[in-house]
Amino acid sequence: MSKNVQQLDQVVIRIAGDSGDGMQLTGDRFTQETAVFGNDLATFPNFPAEIRAPQGTLAGVSSFQLHFADHDILTPGDRPDVLVAMNPAALKANLGDLPKGGTLIVDTHDFTDRALARIGWTSNPLEDGSLEGFTVHAVDLTQLTLDALADSTLSRKDAGRSKNMFALGLLSWMYSRPTEGTLNFVRQKFATKPDIAEANITAFKAGWNFGETTESFAVSYEVKPAKQSPGLYRNISGNVALSYGLIAASQRSGLPLFLGAYPITPASDILHELSKHKRFGVRTFQAEDEIAGIGAALGAAFGGSLAVTTSSGPGIALKGEAIGLAVSLELPLVVCDIQRGGPSTGLPTKTEQSDLLQAMFGRNGEAPVPIVAAQSPGDCFDTAIEAARIALTYRTPVFLLSDGYLANGSEPWRVPAVSELPDLRVEFATEPNGTDGTFLPYLRDPETLARPWAVPGTPGLEHRVGGIEKADKTGNISYDPDNHDFMVRTRQAKVDGIARSLPPLEVDDPDGDAKVLVIGWGSTYGPIGAACRRVRAAGQSIAQVHLRHINPFPSDLGAILSRYDKVVIPEMNLGQLATLIRAKYLIDALSVTQVRGLPFKADELGDMLQGVIQNG
């Protein structure tokens, strides 16, 4: 019996279960299938801070949201259209987000009184009518999986583990996803454990067939591929893109990559990823702490490497003193801050943008450091290359700001050809540059104000650098008052001068008559963009600017700001970019903030913006 297929232009699916149930893996696979199918997509993994919070508890719920469409989209979606809940806790934790009319697929297997009581439910929502208004598919997925694996060699417990593959099979059928990739993936992943591989494949197929054959699923859906600009695409997460960007920068600069890092969520994956690519001459040094991480990187920079250190808020706080040394030594260094919820340990697995002012000012003395920020998972690649460009060109530490949302989220990414990437070659000093044949390590390039980079091994350029104030040109220790004032202003001027190397800002103002400008930085790009679309769809005009460079600000920012009646700055903090913009341009920018450890919801942002436009 063939079922009818319904056309959709976009769908948001959320799969939720115990952190032990493999929800992230299931989500990743469905994402891959969807990507290969050619939809545009955005994902949002959300998992607990504990490695494995106790099974069946709210704290233990892990979820993965996927938004895919036949047109280009910017966010993982505000609310799911379809929620798959693998146990009662998953249902309770996520039900609130499912709009009425939404589709609900529930694994009924664990809906025992004990399990319900454990999460404070006195009655069974599957029976007490509290799910009215949703399209509910209550199915014992676990049992179906066990049945499908009846004659497998696996223990009941292990067999049950395959229920996520059953669910994946079902979903794959529902949305007509290609399945080859998944089957291959499973075969590879469990190459050494053929019985497990078989079980998963059987479960997956059983899930597919279950949708195909049973009555309970009347329709399947189809979301046509999106029209994307031509090119070769892949799905990529922010941390992987950032890692690849660094390797590419190394290759394009001809400098070996050195990473000094200490593990910390959500930055650790960069260390993990880079440690896989030793063939590219990438050295990863897992240091004893964050200070040693940046210290080693700084040592490598002195030696001529493209030096990088990665961390998150608490670790960055520890690096402040060493960043100050890098400012004083004027050596290239990329400092990646993958932001998470703060203050202190805060919310390690949640996203936030609250390290901007720490990046700006978190050091003693006048110690200016350029700041660039990535706006989407794929954009982390370009941002890494840009950070490297600035560090190498200006001989300065550079902050690269990403966050948990970008780090773990993924999106389709047009794969660039290495040969097309910017040329980052640098010239080490090879000759004395002093009139009298001496070497002056602080004699600057008149254009960039960068000092020469003379690496050990270069005869005749032996020199000493240090963190005490240095005399102009010679770099010798100097306590001279005027020299200090001069050096402080020169270091500032060097960083300010970077603005001259920046392209004009892109103002997105399709109607050209917008009175309100919304400006953001970092991972709010998606939600703000989606919100602007809603505003425009509602017939109103709004302009959007998103900043990749926050220090220095692009030269044309001031002029742009002055063109609009009202400037709105949405941030996942208490208004840090707003503080910088207000201080520099003296405009009464409206700071719209949310510090919930989650990205903005596009529709809430959209409503807010419409409000501003109306009352503007």
Binding site: Y244, F258, F302, T458, E462, G466
Partner: protein, 339 residues
């Protein structure tokens, strides 16, 4: 090693040396500059990295590459330099506060990793640059600006700390004994891996005379225990003092030990088991005046920089990391084409 025709003066810089007149650092500087030609490494291939402290001003006076970094972090910075540039000869100069107080963690981690660093620890048992507070190497009860009623902190025994941290080379010497200092520098330079050299250094302003017992002709023989590989640990003006084993396997000093007494310990700097060198190091804790001088331990273990290099080479040998490889990496396994 290759003679490059370098002279000690080739290692002097035009910077005026700014230690207090009479500071032990001058003698150490002279000894190091005197030894450098023997090192047989070109000036441009040598780097001195230091932290902060009087001692840490050292790099400014060495005509090589150098970095005067921040307090306590020199071992970490040098680790990054040495692992990324195994071709260089990297030296760390640090003080007892720089290395044992704020920098203690970086020191012990460099030692366990066996990074190819030569660490010279100028131990004057005081914070010199900050004008005389007690340090982790100062004796109990020491009266200083920050301990007017006497320090209550049990000091570290730097050699014991290093041995507890898997050090492959540990030695001690004295600022004023140019010959001995040079011989120890030589041994450290010959060692591949991290070499920690503790140098007793007089701070004549804030801790003057800390090592007079080891310097004055009428006392030094009674307290300095010269460590010479394969030689019995005998000392004392008349050579009748000796280091002997105790029942518990530790060491003790006995006086009037007869010639050829079998209980006298024969020094073995290459003993694999650090327990030997550790027991030796405790003599100075038993009685602070005892000062075993020379190489406590010198054993071979794979060097961190080399191990890292080998992994890179192995990976590249399997499949070179060229642009094509990078293109392939960027593409990954699951791609799709949009025409």
């Amino acid at each position: 090693m290759a003679d490059l025709g370098l002279k000690p003066k080739d290692f002097k810089t035009d910077q005026e040396v700014r230690w207090c007149p009479g500071c032990g650092d001058y003698a150490i500087l002279a000894a190091v500059q005197g030894f450098m030609p023997e090192l047989g490494v070109k000036r441009e291939d040598i780097v001195f990295v230091s932290g902060i402290g009087c001692s840490s001003r050292f790099p400014y006076y060495m005509n090589t590459y150098g970095m005067h970094s921040i307090h306590g972090r020199a071992p970490a910075i040098a680790t990054g330099l040495s692992t990324s540039r195994p071709d260089l000869s990297v030296w760390v100069v640090t003080g007892d506060g720089d290395a044992l107080s704020i920098g203690g963690n970086h020191l012990i981690h460099a030692l366990r990793r066996n990074v190819n660093l030569k660490i010279l620890l100028f131990n004057n048992q005081i914070y010199g640059l900050t004008k005389g507070q007690y340090s982790p190497a100062s004796e109990l009860g020491k009266i200083t600006k920050s301990s007017p009623m006497g320090s209550i902190d049990q000091p570290f025994n730097p050699v014991s700390v290093a041995l507890g941290a898997e050090a492959t080379f540990v030695a001690r010497t004295l600022d004023s004994d140019r010959k001995h200092l040079t011989s120890v520098l030589r041994a450290a330079a010959d060692h591949s891996g991290t070499a920690l050299v503790e140098i007793y250094q007089n701070c004549n302003i804030f801790n003057d005379g800390a090592f007079d017992l080891l310097k004055e002709s009428d006392t030094r023989d009674d307290w300095i225990i010269k460590l010479e590989d394969g030689q019995p640990l005998r000392f004392g003006a008349d050579g009748t003092k000796a280091v002997v084993r105790t029942a518990q396997g530790g060491f003790a000093v006995e006086d009037g030990v007869a010639e050829g007494d079998p209980s006298v310990v024969i020094h073995d700097e290459h003993a694999e088991d650090p327990s030997y060198a550790f027991a030796l190091s405790r003599l100075s804790s038993l009685d602070r005046r005892y000062a075993p001088m020379g190489v406590f331990r010198d054993v071979q273990r794979p060097v961190y920089d080399q191990l890292m290099l080998e992994q890179l080479d192995a990976a590249a040998a399997k499949a070179p990391g060229d642009d094509d490889a990078l293109d392939a990496l960027l593409q990954g396994s699951d791609t799709w084409l949009i025409a």
